[in-house]
Each structure stands twice: as C-alpha cells, then as structure tokens.
Symmetry: C2
C-alpha cells in the first residue's frame, strides 16, 4: 500500500472553500483503505503575499517540487490589484508551472448531460460534447524575455512581451497530443497563426514532422487559431484533441469551457515529463474557473471542478483510473439527483451550498 504526498494550495477567493470539500473526498479514500494520501497545506497567490510578501514562499516551492501531486485552488482578486508585478498573485501559479516544468496542460471541455440547457448554445450543438484542449504551458509569451516596460521620455513608454518557442518544446507537446488522441477519438487539431507569426510557422512545421515520425495512425488537421475560435463556437463536436500554444490555449480553452455551460465543473491537469529514473511526472491539478472573489465567503461556490481535478490526479498521477471513474460517477450521480450549486441551478433543481454539495458527493461515493 503506497502513501502519496499531496500539497494542497487553496489560494485566494473561493479557493479555500472548495479545497475543504476536496479534503472530505480525500478522507473518504483514506478511510476506505488501499493507497493512502498524506496532505500538507501551503499558501499561494494573494494570501501568500499577505503572509510574507511573495506570491509563493521558497518553502512551499520546495514542498511542491517534492510532492507527488499539487492540488491547486485559484489565485487573485481586486484586493491585490495594486501589488508590484513580480509578486502579484498569478506570479505564484506561473512559477509553479515553470519550475515544475508542467508543459502539458489538459483541459477537457465536457458537457454534463444534466447541464446541457445551462449553456448559451443550442442543446444540439453541445449535447454529448467531449473535447480535450491540450495547452502548452511553460513557453510562449508567458515566459519569453525581454518582458519589459521602458520609459522613453516625453510621456511615452514602450511595453514588450516576447513569444519564444524552440523545436523541443513544440515536439513534446505534439507527442503528448497524439498519445492522448489515441486514447480518445484519434484526431488532433493543431492551432496557430502561421500566417502572421514565426512561432506559428515553426509550430506547424514541428507538429507536422512529429506526426510523420511515428504517429501517422492519428488523424492530424491544422487550423488558424482565429478560425479555430470560430469553429469552436460553430460546431465544437468536430474536434477531439486540440493542441495549441500557451496564449491561444488560454483563450480557446476558456471559450470552450463556457460553451459547455459547465464552467464550474471543469477540471484541469498540468503535467511534466516522466522522470528518467522513476518514471513519475510532476503534476498540478486545478479547476478551470478562477477565484471568484465576488462570491468568496458566501458558501455558494461550486466545488465540483475542484473535486473533479482530484479525480484527474487519481487518473494521471496515481494510475487509479477505476477510482477516478468512481469519483466522476459520484459527481454525475449527485447531479442526477437534482442537486445544484447556484451557478448551475435551473428550474426544478435543488440549490445547495458548497459544503452540502461536497457532502452529497461523499454520500454518493
């Protein structure tokens, strides 16, 4: 019986509330027996800044590097709008992604049948939707240098951000896309703007070459990212796995998440490369939604995306696909009983708070 070490980083806003519900799920698995989970709590984001003037401490960074998986809530809020750029809440998340080398960000966009009517899209457009956006997470304009604001005098400033991609970065995310596609619909759509960006030209070239090099059984298609955004809105079911860069992935995965009508429900996994010696990957799991400071503390937050993120941890970090399925079914079962948090409520359903939703999912387990 293995013991897995989890670092819990609830963060800001609704983060701590929804993390409380994940802890109930973890306790359930520990009580059941089999592998067990040891948890530690840490600070990231605005709360870390408040505590020690940085968006994540060196101690917590070291614990993240040593953990078998990091379970992350959400960061940011208007309270920290004025803090210096380098220690803003998001910097903590970005440092975790970069230092842990979590290059592969898996963002499933799934339409839960019980919620098909919650979408602004027509039911037939999104019913049964199950696509996966694979976003490159450690490169591109998020981390490229120079990244500066310079005073030019005369009241003029110049801001510069740099999009940088090397062949190996594109190749490893392309491989991940093809491998994931094989476990699903066997189709990859690669999105970039090669008609405007040199990084798009290289992206297209490397994805095409990687495909030829051992993945020709997977169907590959290329789409310009703007056209891809359109096609996501027009007919999202045409896609299986979408692979794209850090910034396009940020935009496109948010659009895709909103299409499903299930934003409060969607988890994500950020994975590193397998360790050469142990085969283990560093990993961080977080909901796709943000810290929702407007409803923080009201007990109205939806904990499902956070709990579903733990299900992804079971699947991708601990090879416990059956337990992940069990947890996913408990979520679906709770929805089938008509329980809803406020964000996903519809006529005829029963509105419950964060804690009651967590308890109901535990009961369903």
């Amino acid at each position: 019986m293995a013991t897995h070490k989890l670092l819990l980083l609830p963060g800001d806003g609704i983060g701590p509330e929804i993390m409380t519900e994940v802890k109930k799920i973890i306790s359930w698995f520990n009580a059941r027996g089999g592998d067990s989970f040891e948890t530690e709590d840490g600070l990231v984001g605005g709360c870390a800044y408040d505590a020690h003037g940085k968006s994540i401490s060196e101690e917590d960074m070291a614990r993240a590097m040593a953990a078998d998986a990091v379970i992350f809530g959400a960061v940011g809020g208007p309270k920290w709008d004025g803090v210096p750029y380098d220690v803003r809440p998001e910097a903590g998340l970005l440092r975790l992604r970069k230092d842990m080398e979590l290059f592969a960000n898996l963002r499933p966009a799934i339409c839960y049948p019980a919620l098909a009517d919650a979408s602004s899209l027509k039911r037939e457009v999104i019913e049964g939707l199950d696509i996966l956006i694979l976003r490159e997470l450690t490169g591109g304009v998020y981390f490229g240098e120079p990244k500066t604001i310079t005073d030019l005098g005369n009241g003029q400033k110049r801001a510069i951000d740099t999009q940088v991609y090397d062949t190996y970065e594109i190749e490893r995310i392309a491989r991940a896309a093809f491998e994931l596609a094989r476990t699903r619909g066997n189709k990859v759509t690669s999105m970039e703007k090669r008609n405007v960006m040199k990084s798009g030209v290289l992206w297209h070239e490397v994805v095409t070459a990687t495909h030829k090099n051992g993945y020709e059984d997977v169907q590959l298609e290329h789409m310009l990212a703007d056209a891809g955004g359109m096609q996501l809105v027009r007919w999202p079911k045409q896609f299986d796995v979408i692979v794209t860069d850090n910034l396009f992935g940020d935009m496109l995965s948010d659009v895709a998440a909103m299409l499903t009508g299930s934003l409060g429900m969607l988890p994500s996994a950020s994975l590193g490369a397998p360790d050469a010696r142990t085969g283990k990957r560093k990993a961080l799991y977080e909901p796709v939604h943000g810290s929702a400071p407007d409803i923080a503390g009201t007990g109205a937050a939806n904990p499902i995306a956070m709990i579903a993120s733990f299900a992804m941890a079971l699947r991708y970090s601990f090879e416990k696909g059956a337990d992940a399925d069990l947890l996913d079914r408990a979520i679906a079962g709770t929805l089938d009983k008509g329980l809803r948090t406020k964000d996903i409520a519809s006529p005829g359903t029963t509105v419950v708070g964060t804690a009651a939703m967590g308890d109901a999912i535990v009961a369903e387990l």
Copy 2:
C-alpha cells in the same frame, strides 16, 4: 459634386466574385447622380504573387496611398501554402494596413433579425445583438521585431515574435473607442492580459489615463481577455464597444462574428488618423470573412459582407450616412423578402447565387 477615387482590390478565392457585386452597387450610386465614384482595380494576395512575385506591387501600393478609400476582398488559399513567408498572400494585406497606418479596425458584430436562428447560440442570447469590436491594427505581435526563426543546430530551431506597444498607439485607439462609444451605447470594455503581459499592464494604464483625460462621461470597464472571450459566449449583449490589441482583436472579433450567425454578412472598416491638413483619413474596407477557396468559382459566395463594407465606406470615408443607411436597408429588405445565399439559408427561404443576391440588393435600392 465631388468625385471619390476608390481602389478595388478583390484578392483571391471568392474575392473577385463578391467585388463584382459591389461594382453594381457603385454603378447604381453613380447613375443616381450626386457625388460619383471612380474605380481602379489592383491585385493583392496570391493573385499578385502569381502576376509579379510579390503579394502587392509598388504601383498598387502607391495607388492605395493615393485613393480616397480601398475596397478589399480577401486573400489566401491552399494554392499559396508553399510560397516564401515574406511574399505570402497575407503579407499584402498586412503591408496595406501598416503603410497606410490603419490603426483602428472597426468590426461590428450585429445579429440580423432574419438570421437569428442561423447562430449556434440560443435566440435570446443574440437577438438584437449590436456590439462593436475596435481592434488595434498596426501594432503588437503582428509587426514587432524581432520576428525570426533561428537554427540553433542539433536539429533545434527557435522562433521569436515580439509584442510591442507604445503609449501613443494605445492612447489613439482608446480615444477612438471612447468617441465611437459616444455615438452608441456609451460604454467601453478594454481587454488585455495584464496578469501575464507587460503590454497588458501598459494597455490598462494608458486606457485608464485616457479615460480620465476628457472621456469620463463614457462608462469604462476592464476585463482580462480570456474572461472576455468567455463573457462574449455567455452573454454578448453586456458589451457595447470592446477595445483590444491586434492579436486579441483578431481572435475575439472572429468569435463575436460567429456568435451572430451572420458571418457572411459582417463588414469591417480600417481607418487611419485624420490628415493634419485635409482632415481626411486613409481607409480600407473589407468583409470579416476570408477568401473561402472551397467555394470560389461556384457562384455560391455571399456578397453581403462585401456590399456592407462599401456601406461603411459611405459612412466613414464620405460622410454619407444617409446613403449608408439606404444601402443597409436595401440589404435588410432583400433578406426580409426571404432571399438567401447558401451559407445563411434556412427552411422556407429562397436560395440564390452571388449575382442574383447582388441584383436583388440593387433592385431594392
């Protein structure tokens, strides 16, 4: 009676077919009397490359600079996938935008009532939608240097694109946004990613300062661009004018256009600053849709976006708001009669080809 000089650049794919219909409209206005329009034809995109190895010739660039307005179709297609980067079809369009200093790109996203059901969104979400995306068009990652691919040896290449914004570039587009908002719903939403990009930090700072400096009567709101993409899908009617940078504007305006169900209907205007002496602005008008090489030559293309782009020229280049309204009403009237091109057909409507649609709009005038 003034004579206005138009340069017509049909471009590739369906470009020439839809430009033919605009010529019918121009002839109608010339025959009616009043101001008249003189037209010249030029080449841009793949057809220009085929003719003289460049995506636009120096002669046509000079004619564009001298024209009172440029009417542009669309460029690109698989035929030119292999041409060198510097002379690819899109380079002609980008050079026109840059050399003419067309920094303000107006992209209305309007839901034509007759087409509300053509959208993948629910009718109530988009019925009556009328928003304007104002995209900065001469800066950002489209034009910033360095923009290179370097061979690093060892089979590795590095691609670099550079996002650059100066204060004055942000200030002039912010002013344009506030001024446009005053003629509409009096609200501006500025979108950037200041939590990740230095250009977003400067964008936010300059838009805020410009607002304080003479535009406080206009409501200003800031949104992160990824959240903005989500909100566009969730409830687009919350917006009036959205102002954003070149790349976010590319993505967001395409998503917005697709929401309306009226992609083949949407025009755009790209405007420069008023000339210090004459007060005239350089201007280019083009449909939001692309060159649609798959249907080129079949007579099925929808000419309405192209014709509506000429209506924008009447409004923004020639101060002929009444004529623009007349033309917009002729388009709406033709739709009300049930005529549709294939892309916007629905049960109970009459499908017509490109030429018949153009003729019907002329008849309606």
